[in-house]
């Protein structure tokens, strides 16, 4: 053990020395951080950074976020910027790893970032929020849905939190009278799934919805769902609530179909992606409803325009992550305008100004026609549901 300690301290020492050297190098290259708000050509600009997994298993989410934000930045710059100042934008990859996300944050900070759009995923967002809190940097996560993502007063989010998805789902089902008897299957080994599940059950009770079966599975036991389905079927559930990710849901749908059990399927944003499963028979997902703030087929001008630009630039239909990030940039713009902030203010002063402005602004975006925030960082907006028709999302209303 002693030997091990010696080894550890040797490693730590060398890491410290290395980081000091690296720190010096950074300091000289950016002029000791005094270049705040100065663009590459010397003019005053706002600097917005975005972080997300651009490679690896969650790359679809991260790329959507940085692409969505990029479109918003280009639009704003073309229209004359914020308060007359242009925006400079930079993205960094975190590979969906909390440690790498913090590294990405530090890279962006050295670059002179004043506002952070990120991180994309919950765990990364939480890790980065420790640093933004310490630096008092304004952080707006487009899609970090865990409760802790906005635990500090400098952090806000665009998407719904995990618990509020459960709440909104129950309210939506009750309001639209989709079912009276509800069966639930959830992943008891996943914090996202259990979080949604618990608030859904609580709210369902208040809304007078009857939950006739609620069965769990775990990530070690996610091949056979026949028992959970059979129980829901025997209990007469006419709606099945599936608050988990699309990988497992694709199996649930297949097995329900072989059992001749066809309830209404209702999911949350984790189900977004079910149509992208390679070789999946999308007819099985016909009629599946899911709560998501964004439907690419919506006909309002904002959505049509965004989808068109996104397709031209990146060759694919944007998902809700892209829409969240697009909105995030516009939210920052609205808050800066409200606060009357300028790029020569320090990061901390900008953060203080925006914190106050966030609770006063009202933004119309892709993910909601009206979004407001309170000091907790949570957005107030109407949930939207989409339904899958002929292998594509269509607005449910």
């Amino acid at each position: 053990m002693k030997k091990f300690n010696k080894f550890v301290s040797a490693v730590l020492t060398s890491v410290m020395v290395a980081s000091m050297v690296a720190g010096c190098a950074d300091a000289t290259s950016t002029g000791g951080g005094s270049a705040e708000g100065a663009g590459s050509d010397g003019a005053k600009v706002f600097k917005i950074g975005a972080i997300g997994p651009l490679t690896g298993g969650a790359a679809a989410y991260g790329n959507a976020v940085v692409n969505g934000a990029e479109i918003a930045v280009e639009e704003i710059n073309a229209a004359g910027g914020i308060n007359g100042y242009q925006i400079e934008y930079k993205k960094e990859d975190d590979e969906c790893d909390a440690q790498k996300s913090v590294n990405a944050y530090n890279t962006l900070k050295d670059w002179g970032m004043q506002f952070l759009v990120g991180s994309t995923t919950s765990a990364c967002s939480i890790a980065v929020s420790e640093n933004t809190k310490a630096d008092n940097m304004f952080q707006l996560t487009p899609s970090g849905s865990a409760v802790e993502c906005v635990q500090y007063d400098n952090a806000f989010r665009v998407c719904f939190s995990d618990p509020s998805q459960g709440l909104a789902s129950a309210q939506y089902i009750a309001e639209h009278k989709l079912a009276t008897k509800i069966g639930i299957i959830y992943d008891s080994s996943d914090v996202y799934s259990t979080g949604v599940y618990q608030t859904f059950v609580d709210e369902a009770g208040r809304q007078g919805l009857e939950i006739v079966s609620s069965e769990a599975f775990t990530q070690d036991n996610n091949t056979d769902f026949t028992v959970q389905l059979q129980k829901a079927k025997d209990a007469g559930a006419d709606l099945l609530f599936l608050p988990f990710y699309y990988k497992d849901a694709s199996l649930v749908l297949t097995q329900a179909s072989t059992m001749d059990y066809h309830p209404t399927i209702f999911g949350v944003d984790g189900l977004d992606g079910i149509l992208t499963v390679e070789n999946f028979d999308t007819s099985l997902a016909e009629g599946v409803m899911l709560l998501t703030p964004f439907a690419a087929d919506a006909t309002d001008d904002l959505t049509v325009n965004f989808v068109k630009k996104y397709q031209e630039k990146y060759g694919e239909v944007p998902n809700q992550f892209a829409a969240d990030a697009y909105d995030a940039v516009y939210v920052i713009k609205a808050a800066i305008e409200k606060a009357g902030a300028t790029p020569d203010q320090s990061v901390s002063d900008l953060c203080e100004a925006l914190k106050g402005a966030m609770t006063q602004i009202e933004v119309a975006g892709l993910t909601s026609a009206k979004m407001t925030w309170d000091a907790s960082g949570e957005p107030n907006k109407e949930p939207k549901a989409v339904v899958i028709k002929d292998g594509a999302y269509v607005s449910a209303d």
């Binding site: 298993g57 008891s188 775990t218 070690d220 091949t223 028992v227 059979q230 129980k231 499963v277 070789n279």
Partner: protein, 294 residues
């Protein structure tokens, strides 16, 4: 009626465990080593079939045959490269750890080549299955095929080991490698043949696993592999019949405990049973008692 439905679910799951367990028990019984990478051979087989059927041919049989050939080569190569050099190592743990290494190697290789995204597998069994009692009781085609294939493999393996010269050589190697070598048996070749058979079974098991539960990812084989290992131990590891009985039993226990006790606790119950069986009958249901001579 619903009890029968659950029982059928159990049979369906159990038959998959049984067919995977056959590969485990075959290799263990002869080579006396646990090939923890067996579950990942299954995953490799699934990906081969998936690629063939989605890119080249719609005939599932072609995919299965190519997957069997590929998995056989993979198994023999793995044995040659990763296991054979360690067979003489002082501790039998060396091979076990290497097998875990091979398992992670294959999973990560698949992650690089195919990505983490789940792929939906098209069933190789197009038969709908039986519908009994006016449609209230449904047995899926793939379940029946799995059971039949499992029994065929059982008979084939027993005949092969009992009736052929190669099979007798395997028994001799299983008994005592040194003595077998003295009797003129090529031990290395016999063990390589064992791996070839075990890995080809993995390809068949993979085809059936993914037909019954059609979500394919680099980790598809991992958990069923471990469960099948439990099944093999339950039935008596090394015993071919034991693997089938253990597999079916495990599947039924898992489904029924999920149904009547708790869907969250089924895993604990399954592994709890393993502990109890090992306490009461350390050699499993059909395992042979081995008397250690001092």
């Amino acid at each position: 009626m619903s009890f029968l439905n659950y029982l059928i679910s159990g049979l369906s799951l159990g038959s998959i465990y049984a067919i995977i367990a056959l590969g485990y028990t075959m290799v263990y019984g002869i080579a006396k080593m646990l090939n923890f990478a067996h579950g990942d051979f299954i995953m490799v087989g699934c990906y081969i079939i998936f690629c063939i059927s989605s890119r080249f041919s719609n005939n599932p049989l072609i995919g299965i045959v190519i997957a069997i050939v590929f998995c056989t080569i993979l198994g023999v190569t793995t044995e040659l490269v990763a296991y054979r050099p360690l067979r003489g190592a002082a501790s039998p743990l060396a091979v076990l750890i290497t097998a875990i290494g091979v398992s992670y190697f294959l999973e990560n290789l698949a992650l690089i080549i195919f990505g983490a995204d789940t792929k939906s597998f098209t069933s190789v069994v197009s038969w709908e299955g039986l519908s009994l009692a006016g449609g209230k009781l449904k047995i899926q085609g793939v379940t029946l095929v799995t059971i039949i294939v499992g029994l065929l493999i059982l008979i084939a393996l027993e005949t092969f080991i009992g009736k052929t010269k190669q099979g007798q050589a395997m028994l001799a190697v299983a008994e005592d490698k040194g003595a077998a070598a003295l009797m003129g048996i090529n031990v290395n070749r016999t063990i390589a043949l064992t791996f070839a058979i075990g890995s080809s079974l993995a390809a068949v098991a993979g085809a059936l696993l993914c037909s019954a539960y059609p979500a394919l990812s680099p980790y598809t084989g991992a958990m069923p592999g471990i469960k099948a290992f439990v099944a093999a131990v339950l039935g008596g590891i090394g015993s071919i019949r034991g693997a089938v009985i253990g597999g079916l039993l495990l599947g039924i226990v898992e489904i029924l405990s999920k149904t009547y006790i708790s869907s969250q606790l089924s895993e604990a119950i399954v592994f709890g049973i393993l502990i109890v069986v090992l306490l009461v009958r350390p050699t499993g249901i059909l395992g042979k008692k081995i008397q250690e001579k001092v």
